[in-house]
């Protein structure tokens, strides 16, 4: 038993060294997902069918299929669509050589679809009076969007966005299947090299647990600061 725990602890340094990559993936895909998600939500809410229909279909497809399928489709499929060895000779080769960029693309698109759906609801539930008031004092519709609708919507759905970030962090484990050596990928590599089945997985679980706890505790004060008004002590 003691041997077992010693083994678990002995893998921790190696796994901790892989944690920045997991965090980078989360951060990059999280930011891209938020930006594209906002655009998706606005497109979905637009009056023009040319904008709202593709956005709706995109969100439905991304939310209705497993992330793992999307990862495989992008990782294996992109090379097939691009003609011949074009990728290898193009300026993109340094980026498309390893799994990282594919992982970022797939994770960002997936996250954008989920964030888009959340933001769509939040933007729609901004009180009408707020918008009428902004129009009345002469704001352009772009000003109304950036100064009134979006800030209110973001504040409203912040808790959901936070839990989406946690889900994203957990989803990054899936990119270990397309050769990215983040936390999960490193744990599986140790598994293969050391022929220990349980210890690397348990150690990996400990690191994920710690990261999730830290992340939740970073977001909590931000949330409570932005929703001060609800406690009535503005």
């Amino acid at each position: 038993m003691i041997q077992f725990f010693n083994n678990v602890v002995s893998w921790l340094p190696e796994l901790l060294a892989a944690t920045p990559l997991t965090l980078t993936l989360t951060l990059v895909a999280g930011i891209c997902g938020l930006v594209f998600g906002t655009l998706l939500a606005l497109a979905r809410l637009s009056d023009s069918l040319v904008l709202s229909m593709p956005a709706g279909i995109f969100m439905f497809v991304m939310r209705g299929t497993p992330l793992l399928v999307q990862l495989y489709l992008i990782y294996y499929g992109l090379g097939q669509i691009l003609p011949g060895t074009w990728v290898r000779h193009s300026f993109l080769w340094p980026y498309l050589r390893d799994g990282f960029s594919y992982a970022v693309i797939a994770l960002s698109m997936n996250q954008a679809a989920y964030n888009g759906e959340v933001l769509r609801g939040a933007i729609r539930s901004v009180p009408k009076g707020q918008i009428e008031a902004s129009v009345a004092i002469g704001m352009t519709s772009f000003q109304v969007l950036t100064r009134v609708r979006l800030p209110l919507a973001f504040r409203d759905c912040l808790p959901v966005l936070t839990s989406d970030i946690i889900i994203l962090l957990k989803s990054t484990a899936l990119v270990s299947t397309i050769t990215v050596l983040e936390l999960m990928g490193t744990a599986r590599m140790i598994q293969r090299e050391s022929l220990q089945i349980y210890e690397p997985l348990i150690a990996c679980g400990l690191v994920y647990f710690a990261v999730v706890i830290v992340l939740t505790n970073i977001m909590r004060p931000i949330e409570s600061r932005l929703t001060r008004f609800r406690r009535g002590n503005t």
Binding site: V61, T65, Y72, Y76, K170
Partner: protein
């Protein structure tokens, strides 16, 4: 060009149509079994979380907190390798089964998926149970119902109305999480079938596309059924 794709999806030894058909059924089988088992875990853990026994409460809280903060793929790997192996050793040592006994890998995978979803199910069911007004239970006690009767006639019908949206979302995520089982490489469910077909023919876009469309089909049908169920359970409250 178009004809080759039809050939690809043909039935029999040459085409992949039959493999995809059985893969589709396998995904449904895994998802349904895992969901049913997750429901059982969910009810047990909810009962433990709301019980007066501190030990049961602590166990249930640990279960939901730990499982919900770890990636699904990690949990599936841990449970698939660890728990199945440990349970086998324990059963052999207890003399309940013969030496060399092995769990059917299908059930090990289903158990792993259900163990993960069970934690999320617990949170859904707990919230639904707490949404049933205390007065309902007090009046049921007052008219002399036994606690089993109270659960079956008063609590369950009222909590299901609150639980259905969460349970529906969970069903959708179980069907999608079942794809993780492909990583184990032991079952020909949808994604693994797509993986083998794509690797054999090098038609990655087409076969992963087919996989995605079939998953989408499950989602589409499920969403329609869930909407009908929600309407049905809310019919007295409009």
């Amino acid at each position: 060009m178009f004809l080759t794709y039809i050939d690809y999806m043909g039935w029999g030894a040459k085409g992949w149509g039959d493999e995809f058909f059985f893969g589709f059924l396998m995904t449904l089988k895994i998802s349904l079994s895992a969901y049913a088992l997750a429901l059982l875990f969910g009810f047990l853990a909810t009962a433990a979380k709301l019980s007066t026994n501190w030990f049961l409460r602590a166990m249930a809280v640990t279960y939901t907190t730990v499982v919900r903060s770890l990636p699904e793929i990690l949990m599936v790997l841990i449970v698939y390798f660890t728990v199945a192996g440990l349970a086998e050793t324990a059963l052999v040592k207890a003399g309940l089964v013969d030496k060399g006994f092995q769990f059917d890998p299908f059930w090990a995978a289903v158990f792993a998926l259900a163990f993960v979803s069970g934690a999320f199910m617990t949170e859904v069911l707990r919230a639904a149970r707490l949404a049933v007004p205390e007065g309902q239970i007090e009046s049921a006690t007052a008219v002399g119902m036994s606690s089993m009767q109270i659960f079956r006639r008063v609590i369950l019908p009222q909590m299901m109305r609150h639980a259905i949206p969460g349970m529906g979302n969970l069903w959708l995520s179980v069907t999608k999480d079942s794809a993780i089982v492909a990583v184990l490489g032991a079952f020909s469910e949808l994604l693994y079938t797509g993986y083998r077909a794509a690797a054999a023919t090098r038609e990655y876009v087409f076969f992963y596309g087919v996989t995605a469309v079939l998953f989408l089909l499950i989602t589409l049908v499920s969403v329609a059924v869930l909407q009908w169920m929600e309407r049905h359970l809310n019919r007295g409250y409009v």
